[in-house]
């Protein structure tokens, strides 16, 4: 077994037993990347290897929107070409403090995390390791594909509307979006500040718990970070779901859900039932409004967050003879089409005369969506749904129809709007051999329940051990 194929907890064991070293692990990853990344294209800017003196612990691969001091961080956008942040994101400091390092190479993503397929990257698309003609999902497609392809041991991604869970599902790995405020956003280049969360993408649930342990916690640099004790999430890895009350929202099993995905999800639910969990149909009545609400709130915040990319202080600047021309050309040439589309949509939703009809209305419906979850969680321990209505689709399949692309986040968006944690874990395959993900949604700050359910399912199935043939 090559080192790069192992999980982080297996490698920690090996390091502790003096059977391997962090240097060996990095070398093994570099070898794998060299061999396979030309096909997968999970990483960008292949020249940015980690300074060998910085290697420690189990290297974490990092999405291109998380700031790494002195290492390029470009959000896979031309507008941030060459940008080297003068500081580390809090998660990077935490990884270092825990005795680990990050791989200097950064992971591909949809430009500024705007997308569900990693096709919107300035560096070109990432390919799904299970089928190179398919997308890996997005926006953390590079993170998911690198872990699935054993080009990374574990990775960090960010999730604004499903950007960790949907690619984890498409690539057959585990991905967690923590409770909003659980992980510091300081150093995460913002897409939508009220929705963004950093989270782990890993080969199994134990690694997800380990990495969540490392990155969680209050940060004085992030005013939206929750100040509360962090449990040891590995203590939640209990193989027991007996008498847990789990809700199945009827609004998620409707038209639009791929029959194969539906079947796989139902089998997984059956499995958990057999393990002692109690299932009951529940209702999240405002589910159908989640996508429109999301595309107003997320784009409105993004239009403001991305205003700073103007060529003044960093990144790309278009040739121009005066300031207004510099602004307009820099942003016209520096942003890709999806970014422009969302900035325009968000600017519109906030603009004079439209604010009440769009932005304010969306904030109100957000309240209703949150209340839906509050109501269900009064009686249930967690909610289970498919992560995505379909398995990975083909590259180019949805690029001409933005709305169709937006709807592929329909099952993941609500968790961000409600601020609750949600995990995706592998639960089977389609006939074509593409992975399917199961999503578990929990109460505010109750990641422990997610780990427990996910761990129990994983310990009683073999899906997480399957590897793509590359």
């Amino acid at each position: 077994m090559e080192l790069n194929n192992l999980t982080a907890h297996e490698l920690i064991q090996k390091i502790n037993n003096k059977e391997t070293t962090p240097q060996d692990i990095v070398a093994s990853l570099h070898k794998r990347i060299k061999e396979k990344d030309a096909q997968v294209k999970a990483y960008v800017r292949s020249d940015e290897l980690i300074d060998p003196t910085h290697i420690a612990g189990i290297p974490v691969s990092i999405k291109d929107n998380i700031c790494t001091d002195g290492y390029n961080t470009e959000c896979c956008s031309k507008v941030l070409e060459g940008f080297k942040p003068p500081y580390n994101a809090t998660v990077i400091e935490k990884i270092k403090a825990a005795g680990h390092s990050f791989l200097g190479l950064k992971l591909n993503m949809d430009e500024f995390a705007f997308g569900s397929s990693t096709e919107n990257s300035h560096f070109g698309p990432t390919h799904n390791p299970w089928n190179l003609n398919c997308v890996p999902g997005g926006s953390s497609g590079g993170s998911a594909a690198s872990v699935a392809a054993d080009e990374a041991i574990w990775a960090l991604g960010s999730d604004t509307g499903g950007s960790i869970r949907q690619p984890a599902s498409f690539c057959g790995i585990v991905g967690l979006k923590p409770t909003y405020g659980r992980v510091s956003r300081f150093g995460l280049i913002a897409f939508a500040s009220s929705l963004d969360q950093i989270g782990p993408l890993t080969k199994d649930v134990r690694d997800a718990a380990l990495l969540t342990n490392i990155i969680s916690g209050h940060d004085a640099n992030d005013s939206t970070s929750i100040n509360c004790a962090i449990p040891d999430f590995t203590k939640s890895l209990i193989n027991d779901v007996h008498s847990l009350k789990i809700g199945i929202p009827k609004e998620y099993f409707v038209e639009g859900l791929d029959p194969e995905v539906k079947k796989v999800a139902e089998e997984s639910i059956e499995k958990l039932k057999n393990l002692g969990a109690q299932f009951k149909e529940v209702s999240l009545p405002h589910t159908e409004y989640a996508v429109p609400v999301y595309y107003i709130i997320a784009t409105a915040e993004a239009s403001s967050n991305l205003a700073r990319f103007d060529g003044v202080q960093y990144g790309f600047r278009a040739d121009s003879s005066n300031l207004i021309e510099m602004y307009k050309k820099t942003r016209a040439q520096g942003f890709g089409e999806e970014v422009k589309r969302r900035i325009l949509l968000g600017t519109f939703a906030l603009s004079h005369g439209y604010y009440d009809a769009y932005y304010l209305k969306a904030l109100k419906v957000r309240t209703l969506i949150k209340q839906d979850f509050d109501n269900v969680f009064k009686d249930f321990d967690c909610i289970i749904t498919p992560t995505s209505p379909t398995a990975a689709f083909e590259i180019g399949e949805k690029t001409d129809d933005p709305l169709k692309m937006y709807l592929s986040d329909i099952y993941t968006i609500s968790a961000n709007l409600a601020g609750i944690p949600a995990i995706s874990l592998p639960c089977g395959f389609t006939k074509k051999g593409l992975p399917v993900g199961l999503q578990v949604l929990g109460k505010h700050l109750d990641e422990e329940m997610l780990f427990r359910v996910a761990y129990t399912y994983e310990q009683n199935t073999e899906w997480h051990k399957m590897k793509p043939k590359l």
Binding site: T73, Y87, L188, T224, S303, A307, Q313
Partner: protein, 477 residues
């Protein structure tokens, strides 16, 4: 035709906290460009704001001092616009739920007391500084993120003079609160004005002009006076005014149209998602209220009632916080119950020394002990008022004590009537005409003769005794 002038002022006040509003960079003034910056105030991608506690305390303090209602729930909003001195291309400000609103201050303008409403006081961040060169602009972000208060008045002001008086009253209050340098020249206090004119009696508001770039109180007054003339001239000709922003040019003493930014401004305000809201509890408000010092108006009234100082003189003394505190310290240390003598020293010789030296009273450098000792010399009639003034000048110049100077210059008054009589006889001989005038009933002539005796004695004779002696002498003759 005559018009009614309607003015509202918008004051931006830099708070003198140690650090910026949303990051821990120092706010020190005059540092090398771009040395007091960090990822947060540079708006670097991924950075996040964290609000400075002292800014909130200072802001509440100001709001309360301006009689505003402090809101129980307040939040920040983003004001979105592109400008190179604004690193994020949005300013963290407050929109629909400002910290406080509905206040007022009382001003006295040309002898008339008037209440000016304060619409709102809210918190926002300052922008950087631009230096314009031929075909480029240089940016220094040191100022970016320094906390500002925006203090918006109601359009209750009806003349340029009133604007000036509003500003000086406001500045005076703010100085007492000790939360800002309040220096217009340095830009720690800035003022924009909205002005419109309407025919007297008309209920409709006229077309509004926004005036910017006034860098002194005088600038505000001059710009408004210019604008009143410009607008009334146009209205007299029945010409339509355009709603616009105009810049004051102090050299030309004129206002000029600023080319409009974007047809209608659309700042796309929305709640700042990076900063959770603030709930300000009643006990917090009472705690801050208790920390507010006596404000100029109250101090003035107390000066009048406690020390019998005239309204005019009290006003002069409280116009500067430090002067008022210095004066009061001296007044308190003065042992006599009747404070008139020591007060007269302040509004007389000390104030004129301060004016001559272009210094604040509190900066003259005289200690309370020295001042009291000087006053005592005069009261014991050991030196004359005239010499006392000279001694004061020398105390300020030399840092010597009054005793030393009086001893060195031998200034102790001659009260011995024999010595005075000799000088008096000389004076009577030399001023026969004045003697006749006095005898003819011109009492002024007596004062002249007293003055002559004083002069001949080098100011050392006691004028009261001289006067008595002269009266007796001339009455006898």
């Amino acid at each position: 035709m005559s018009y009614e002038v309607v003015i509202g002022l918008e004051v931006h006040l830099q708070l003198k906290t140690k650090t910026k509003a949303f990051c821990a960079c120092s706010t020190e003034f005059g540092k090398e460009p771009n040395t007091q910056v960090c990822p947060v105030c540079l708006g670097f991608p991924g950075s996040l704001p964290v609000f400075n506690k002292t800014v909130l305390d200072y802001a509440i303090k100001v709001a309360l001092a301006l009689n505003c209602k402090v809101q129980e729930y307040t939040k920040f909003d983003r004001k979105n616009y592109f400008y190179p001195d604004l690193p994020k291309n949005y300013q963290i400000s407050q929109f629909d739920l400002p910290l406080s609103s509905n206040g007022f201050i009382d001003i006295v303008s040309e002898g008339i007391e008037k209440r000016i409403g304060i619409t709102r006081v809210h918190i926002e961040e300052d922008a950087g500084k631009l230096i314009h060169q031929d075909d480029l602009s240089l940016i220094d972000f040191n100022r970016t993120g320094i906390p500002l208060l925006e203090i918006v008045s109601e359009p209750d002001i009806s003349s340029a003079q009133e604007s000036h008086d509003y500003l000086s009253t406001l500045k005076n209050i703010l100085e007492y609160l000790d939360v800002s340098d309040c220096d217009m020249e340095k830009g720690t206090l800035r003022c924009d004005a909205n002005i419109s004119l309407r025919p007297i009696g008309s209920k409709n508001l006229g077309v509004k002009t926004e005036l910017k770039n006034m860098n002194s109180f005088k600038g505000v007054k001059d710009a408004l006076n210019y604008e009143i003339q410009r607008q009334s001239a146009l209205l007299d000709l029945n010409e339509a005014l355009t709603q616009e922003t105009r810049l004051w040019d102090p050299k030309a003493s004129k206002t000029f149209t600023m080319r409009t930014k974007e047809g209608a401004k659309d700042y796309r305000y929305f709640p700042e998602p990076d900063l959770p809201p603030f709930i300000i509890k009643v006990d917090k408000i009472s705690e801050i209220k208790a920390s507010i010092p006596e404000l100029p108006k109250e101090k003035m009234q107390r000066f009048i009632s406690d020390y019998g100082i005239s309204e005019y003189d009290s006003k002069v003394l409280v116009a500067s916080k430090r002067d008022a505190f210095f004066a009061e310290e001296c007044i308190k240390a003065y042992p006599n119950k009747d404070k008139k003598a020591i007060v007269n020293w302040f509004i007389g010789p000390l104030l004129s020394e301060a004016n001559n030296r272009a210094k604040a009273l509190a900066d003259l450098g005289i200690s309370i002990e020295n001042l009291l000792s000087l006053v005592t010399f005069v009261e014991r009639e050991e030196i004359s008022h005239l010499s006392a003034k000279a001694v004061l000048t020398e105390v300020l110049d030399s840092a010597k004590s009054p005793e030393e100077i009086i001893r060195e210059k031998n200034l102790i008054q001659v009260s011995d009537s024999g010595a005075i009589k000799n000088i008096m006889e000389e004076v009577i001989k030399e001023n026969a005409k004045s003697v006749l005038d006095y005898k003819a009933g011109k009492s002024n002539a007596l004062m002249f003769l007293v003055g002559q005796v004083m002069r001949k004695s080098g100011g050392k004779t006691n004028p009261k005794i001289v006067q008595e002696l002269l009266k007796t002498r001339l009455g006898d003759a």
